[in-house]
Amino acid sequence: MNPDDTKFSQVLRAARPSPSLPPRFQENVWRRIEDAEAPAKSGSWLDALTALVLRPRFAYATVAMLVLAGAFLGTYQGAQTARHNEQARYLAAVAPDSLR
């Protein structure tokens, strides 16, 4: 390297002084890096609940549970209705309304 170049570089560096870093600069940089890498946090309990509900495993389980509950209650209620209708049909056959 030319000694003149070295001297020239020193002059240039002296002409552009680098500003001093703000306090806790390094710590703040690391915190921002960690925040960027962490999974996004939900804003409220509603967001958290929505995230839970939209998870496929939860959604499939809920649909299955609703179908089973509806089928069970519907079958039970249908059987009760059918039983009531059959009883009414028998009563209508053996005991006319005018006697009841």
Binding site: V53, L54, G70, N85, R89, V94, P96, S98
Partner: protein, 162 residues
């Protein structure tokens, strides 16, 4: 509106639709699978065997023509009562006579009906027969007893206040 709230409301509505669909399909299917036999209720409710059902069916088929005959007599007597009452404002001797005859016919029909219930109960296993007889008395005579009970309660209350 908040996006999460909209999604949750949509999920709730979808869940309600899924539940309701499942409920109504099952209810309809369950109601349709039952037969149209008049005696099916007896078989299911009183757990009757085929032999029990054969005896009960024979009694039922023997009773039905008698019941139909009594019903026809009662309907004819009701028409006579209506004619005797006419559009008048007082009960004539003829109308009173027709009402008495109608009451007698109803009493005969009820006695015949109770006799049929007793015969059917005896064609069933003893425990089920007693339950059947009690149930049929409650279903056919129970409404009269309730009315009479409410009338006597009402009369007693009035006497108590006078």
């Amino acid at each position: 509106m908040n996006r999460s709230l909209v999604i949750l409301l949509g999920v709730l509505a979808l869940g309600a639709v899924i539940f309701a669909g499942s409920y109504f399909v099952s209810q309809r299917a369950s109601a349709v699978t039952h037969s149209a036999d008049d005696l099916n209720w007896l078989r299911d409710e009183f757990h009757l065997s085929d032999a029990d059902m054969a005896r009960v069916r024979q009694l039922h088929e023997g009773y039905m023509p008698q019941c139909a005959k009594m019903c026809a007599l009662i309907a004819a007597k009701q028409a006579e009562v209506q004619a005797a009452l006419g559009t008048g404002t007082n009960v004539t001797a003829e109308a009173q006579q027709k009402l008495t005859e109608l009451g007698e016919l109803r009493a005969q029909c009820q006695a015949q009906m109770i006799q049929h219930f007793i015969a059917v109960s005896q064609a069933m296993p003893p425990g089920q027969g007693q339950r059947y007889l009690a149930e049929m008395k409650k279903l056919t005579l129970g409404s009269h007893e309730e009315i009479e009970q409410s009338m006597s309660d009402h009369a007693g209350h009035e006497h108590g206040t006078n």
